[in-house]
Amino acid sequence: MTAFAELCRRDLRLALRQGADAAMVIAFFVLTVVLFPFGVGPEPNILARIGPGVLWVTALLAAMLSLDRLFQSDLDDGSLEQLVLTPEPLSTMVLAKCLAHWLTTGLPLTLVAPMLALLLNMDGEGMLVLIGSLLLGTPVLSLLGAVGAALALGARRVGALVALLVLPLTIPVLIFGVAAVDAALADLSPRPHLLLLGALLLAALALCPWATAAALRQAVE
């Protein structure tokens, strides 16, 4: 458990000291969402209708941006091999790295999203459900993204490849995340969608670190 906390702390410290990466993700998120009113026009009704979808899709793309640095720098400086050699189960180590990744991308995205929702004319209840759905959904993106990042380690053109591998797998998260917010906006209960998102999170928590660990072992072989 201490190794888990220590690894998580190390990754957080690295992310905070470099800083630019996390800020870049947020900047991308904000900028892309702000582009939409220019694309579809400033009409409040249209913006309110497409708001949940726009926010979720852009959050998804922003989360993809930071994935290539998840294991690459560790592979380059050799610390990945040390991680594989530690007596701790590799999947626990992967989980720690995913947690650190979520704290530096998924969580900031969730915190910025309500402000952007305001720009897209979303009401208060929708905003609350949006935060809830992002809190449940973005960890799944980090976990699935870790699988893709580990598989693509050492490949050519990593960035585009990871997106191609991971984006189709994230479709269920997108569907239930948007459906929850849409339900809240239509005065229906968002509960079933949030429960399904929770189920996806639990399944991803159980399975993704395992697959990522297998992929990492191959990468350092």
Partner: protein
């Protein structure tokens, strides 16, 4: 079962067996294809509602079946490759992907051509169409990953994990797309309900399905033999280079 499989995992034995089986597969496949096309295009009745366009079904439905069947094959071969580390299973999984992607494209294209006269549009975001489109992306991701490494064995291993992750995810994607579809669309236009399919249509359909399967097996065997030959050549070249 595992023991027999290990016996055929020997590349020499596999090559001998594949060489013997392949002409039969090609011959039977072409015969079934010609028979199925003849029965389907000339002999089967036109649908009372859909008219002649219903004949697209004889290509579309088997292609859609194959799209799923090949993915299942690929996942199975990947599991075998990961568990027993058979090099042949790696080669099989790797060569399934382009064929599966091809069948998926045929299913999507023929579906689109069928959709135009039937629903008046080339594409609807129907649950089934959407899932098949996602399946195509899974195939493309797999192909891109396998070919993205300088070392082919590394690519095959990474691909094996991806195929298994995809096979776990595919039912979830299918379920969520169904859910999404019922939320967003009113009653779907496409329902294959009505009376059960008549024998005059079922026979060509089944013949075409058998033909597609046999053609898939033939192409897979050809590709696998080509890949084994390619690896032999590479090894020989390396050995030759080391000597000279």
């Amino acid at each position: 079962m595992a023991v027999t499989m290990h016996r055929f995992a020997n590349p020499t034995r596999f090559l001998r067996l594949a060489g013997a089986v392949q002409p039969w597969c090609v011959g039977l496949g072409v015969a079934c294809l010609l028979g199925g096309l003849y029965l389907g295009l000339l002999r089967s009745p036109a649908d009372y509602q859909q008219g002649e366009t219903v004949r697209i079904m004889y290509v579309h439905v088997p292609a859609a079946w194959m799209a799923l069947f090949v993915y299942a094959n690929m996942a199975l071969a990947s599991a075998v490759a990961l568990i027993w580390k058979h090099p042949l299973a790696d080669i099989a999984a790797k060569n399934c992907a382009p064929l599966g992607a091809g069948f998926t494209v045929v299913a999507l294209a023929s579906g689109s051509l069928w959709g135009q006269p039937m629903w008046g549009t080339w594409w609807v975001w129907d649950a089934r169409l959407t899932s098949v489109l996602v399946l195509l992306f899974l195939y493309l991701g797999y192909i891109a990953l396998v070919n993205a490494f300088d070392d082919p064995t590394r690519g095959a291993k990474a691909g094996a994990i991806l195929a298994l992750v995809g096979s776990v995810n595919l039912p979830i994607i299918k379920f969520s797309v169904d859910w999404w579809n019922t939320l967003h669309q009113p009653a779907s236009i496409m329902r294959m309900s009505g009376p059960t399919i008549h024998a005059s249509m079922l026979t060509p359909l089944l013949l075409m399905a058998i033909a597609f399967t046999l053609i898939f097996v033939s192409l897979l065997l050809i590709n696998m033999r080509a890949e084994i030959a390619e690896r032999k050549i590479r090894t020989l070249r390396l050995a030759h280079g080391a000597e000279g």
